[in-house]
């Protein structure tokens, strides 16, 4: 029956075609089989039909965990033509409304692949590979790529395979755009980053995404394991849990789709999760867990013990978590360390706020190394592009300026200021909140116009002429600035002016607030002077209390390496302990050694004793290294 000839004709044809079930040889017929095959494939996650279109990846065998461990290499195979026979037969599944799942081994240019239409359920996926991507931090790498790529995209299943980093995208235009930026991004060492794009089948975590009813079951099962009072979720030994046996899903956490589903349930149901126990789940890598930073950022206690993590590099993938307590014992990586000390410090590099490891309290970290701030988010940049010569000039200026400023005698700063320069100082004013007492030394010079309303006072507190300025600078307490913490914004340069502001931290090294760390922002307007130095016309200094973060990142003044005078009576490990204790506590090595000796060389005990005595003020000043 042909009704409404033109318009319906196409529809009619399709209708006819799909009825043609019994044509094993006809192309359309086979496609129908493919459809139904696919249907089965979806429902039964563990029963795969062999032969024919051999598409099931090796990983979906029962003991996935085992396969996963060894199959880093074979992962690659998953997304290339599964069946060599396909190539030989030159067969290509092609039907309107169905995506082309056959993947030609990259010989065929991307364009020809694009000719096939897209199915809304399976769509077209692309695999993006960054060879040597392993050496880049995930955040930096993805942010760089996102910011260079002209098309926004959502990366799926990002993970590392040997030296490569790879992920998937669904959008063809994104894939093209990513191809375009290959060799366009430079890394820190000026190497250009290559990006390879190829078509691929649906990534497993998407294809094997848990169906809604499975998610529901998972959610109920997880609810049973959640302790509301502790905000703790106990997922240990999930692999072996008889509780899941009645469900028709196996929650194997080392499978990407299960981990993703688990994190999704956590995000939706336990948003303020504090503690997560993943003990004994055969985790070989933490690529899947890395999404926890977006899904459950509040987690502070994490148990990864008795898994199969081989290297601390796995921890790199989750170091965005601000962990306070971590369990790692029972992982192969623990055996790779020479001593407890090196183990602890290696782990601490990833989680600076860690206070308990494997159930043991860690000695408080009194000073920490400076972390290079990771400023790669597209919206916040460390510094804008200015000429190198200019930057150098400013850096040199700041080094010289603060050398004198911190020296204890600020008189020589007279040479840095113009005769008619201006200087003023401010501290924050928050109504109903008294200014913190650590800023006491700055109260009387505070010219914050928000709470200083008298025009005469405003005039008086503005220091004018270099002599006035330097006199008032000399009155401020002695400081030690941390030049490594400085961030400089150069906001104007012209022939006559170079204007910049400096943000950073400093310590008070004497006076009532000795030891306090303050943060500051100092705005300079300078003019080039005759001897290629800079002459300050305006100087505005804003001082505030440093945040906890800023305080932690402030490094202590580098001290000369302690010379241990007791010599060879100490063992190698003991000498190491003394050195580390000395750096961490700030005490001279002789004193550090005494403290350790008195506490039977129990580092943790010694640290606690030290902290107690220090808090009680019992340690004489001479015990500490001179800060000059």
């Amino acid at each position: 029956m042909v009704i409404g000839y033109r318009r319906v004709s196409k529809l009619v044809i399709l209708f006819l075609v799909s009825e043609d079930n019994d044509g094993g040889s006809s192309r359309q017929g086979r496609e129908k089989d493919w459809d139904s095959f696919q249907g089965d494939f979806r429902k039964q996650t563990h029963h795969y039909q062999q032969g024919g279109y051999e598409l099931q990846p090796p990983h979906l065998l029962k003991d996935y965990g085992y396969m996963e461990k060894r199959e880093v290499q074979r992962y690659q195979v998953r997304h290339t033509p599964y069946d060599v026979q396909h190539n030989k037969r030159g067969m290509k599944l092609h039907k309107e409304g169905c995506s082309d799942v056959t993947v030609w081994r990259g010989r065929k240019p991307l364009e020809r692949e694009m000719e096939n239409t897209q199915d809304e359920t399976t769509g077209r996926w692309f695999k993006i590979i960054i060879p040597y991507g392993r050496k880049y931090e995930k955040t930096w790498l993805m942010d760089s790529i996102q910011s260079h790529c002209s098309v926004p995209f959502t990366p799926v299943e990002f993970h590392y395979v040997k030296n490569r980093a790879q992920f998937f995208v669904q959008d063809a235009s994104a894939a093209y755009a990513l191809k375009d930026i290959s060799y366009k991004i430079c890394d820190a060492e000026n190497w250009k980053i290559a990006i390879f794009v190829s078509t691929s089948a649906v990534p497993y975590s998407v294809r094997d995404k848990l169906a809604p009813e499975e998610m529901e079951q998972l959610k109920l099962a997880m609810r049973k394991r959640y302790d509301v009072s502790q905000k703790a979720l106990d997922l240990r030994s999930l692999l072996y849990d008889p509780g899941f046996a009645h469900l028709d899903i196996d929650i194997i956490l080392n499978r990407r789709n299960c981990m993703a589903a688990t994190l999704q349930v956590i995000k939706e149901n336990f948003p303020e999760l504090l503690s997560l126990n993943l003990r004994n789940n055969k985790l070989y890598q933490l690529d899947g867990l890395s999404d926890i930073i977006q899904m459950a950022p509040t987690v502070k206690i994490l148990n990864l013990s008795k898994n199969e993590l081989n290297s601390t590099w796995e921890l790199d993938k989750i170091k965005g978590l601000k962990l306070e307590e971590l369990w790692l014992e029972g992982n192969p990586l623990c055996d790779t360390f020479q001593s407890q000390l090196t183990y602890v410090s290696a782990i601490r590099k990833y989680f600076p706020n860690l206070s308990r490891l494997d159930g043991q309290d860690l000695p408080p970290q009194i000073t920490t190394d400076i972390d290079k701030p990771d400023l790669t988010s597209p919206s916040i940049k460390e510094s804008c592009e200015r000429s190198d010569a200019m930057k150098k000039q400013v850096v040199q200026f700041l080094q010289q300026y603060y050398l004198i400023y911190d020296s204890g005698n600020r008189q020589s700063l007279l040479g840095a200021y113009h005769d008619e320069a201006c200087f003023s100082l401010t501290i924050p004013y928050i109504p109903n909140n008294p200014a913190p007492s650590s800023l006491f030394e700055y109260f009387k010079d505070n010219r914050n116009m928000k709470n200083l309303l008298d025009p005469n006072l405003r005039f008086q507190l503005l220091k004018h002429t270099k002599h006035d300025i330097v006199s008032s600078l000399c009155v401020f307490p002695k400081t030690q600035h941390d030049l490594n913490s400085f961030l400089v914004d150069m906001w104007l340069q012209s022939e006559k002016m170079l204007c910049f502001c400096v943000h950073g931290v400093f310590k008070e090294v004497e006076g009532r607030s000795q030891g306090s760390v303050h943060a500051f922002t100092r705005t300079f307007i300078t003019t080039p002077a005759s001897d290629s130095s800079l002459c300050i016309m305006n100087d505005e200094l804003f001082v505030r209390e440093a945040t906890l973060n800023e305080t932690q990142r402030a490094v202590s003044i580098p001290v000369p390496t302690p010379s241990c005078s007791t010599g060879s009576t100490l063992s190698q490990e003991q000498q190491e302990m003394v050195q580390i204790f000395s750096i961490q506590s700030g005490m001279k090595p002789q004193w550090s050694q005494k403290c350790l000796e008195d506490n039977e060389w129990d580092y943790i005990k010694a640290a606690q004793v030290f902290a107690t005595f220090k808090a009680q003020g019992k340690i004489p000043e001479e015990a500490f290294k001179q800060i000059s």
Partner: protein, 195 residues
């Protein structure tokens, strides 16, 4: 989080642009040449012939008072405009003004207009203000004031950031008054390292 380029805003801005144009025409009509978004102070005294430093104090205080008045007026108008009448904000800037926003350089009125359009809605609270007159030697005889502020801001109702900001304001003098405009603007979150 605070990424320029959120496409959602485009739709609304097209509709509002027309309305705003109408509003601008109407408001400039009704107020004469001056709009709300102008920082205006009484005219500056005649510049003294640069004499010895001893002659400065009298004039200097006048400069300081002038600077304070301009700074206070400016800061009130600037942040209110930023929060409530964002589209008018660029009127406070010179044509060739430069903004450095957390390290991103934005130069010229067109770029500034785009930037402020995509910047999410803001809620500023200033808890520090300071200002200094800038010596003419640096500014080539154009009266300039350095304004430094600090406080808190919420973008799109999200978490609060502490910020530091400084401006260079230059004076455009007329016989009747002085109009101050922003020559440069530098803004940064205090938590730049951890955001």
């Amino acid at each position: 989080e605070i990424l320029p380029g959120e496409n959602g805003r485009r739709k609304n801005s097209v509709c509002l642009a027309g309305f705003t144009i109408f509003l601008n025409i109407w408001s400039s009509y009704s107020r004469g040449n001056r709009t709300r978004e102008e920082v205006v102070t009484p005219p500056l005294p005649q510049q003294s012939v640069s004499g010895s430093p001893m002659a400065m104090p009298v004039d200097f205080k006048t400069y300081v008072d002038q600077a304070c008045r301009a700074a206070e007026e400016f800061v009130n108008i600037y942040y209110e405009t930023m929060d409530k009448r964002r589209r008018a904000l660029t009127r406070l800037y010179l044509d060739k003004a430069t903004l450095i926003w957390n390290g991103n350089v934005v130069t010229g009125l067109d770029a500034l207009t785009n930037f402020f359009e995509v910047l999410p809605s803001s809620e500023f609270q200033v808890n520090m203000l300071d200002c200094q007159p800038v010596h003419e030697q640096a500014t080539q005889a154009q009266t300039t004031v350095l304004v430094v502020t600090s406080g808190t801001v919420k973008f799109d109702g999200n978490r609060q950031h502490f910020f530091n900001q400084n401006f260079l304001l230059t004076a455009q003098t007329t016989p009747h008054n002085t109009v101050w405009k922003i020559a440069s603007d530098c803004f940064r979150f205090q938590d730049w390292a951890t955001t």
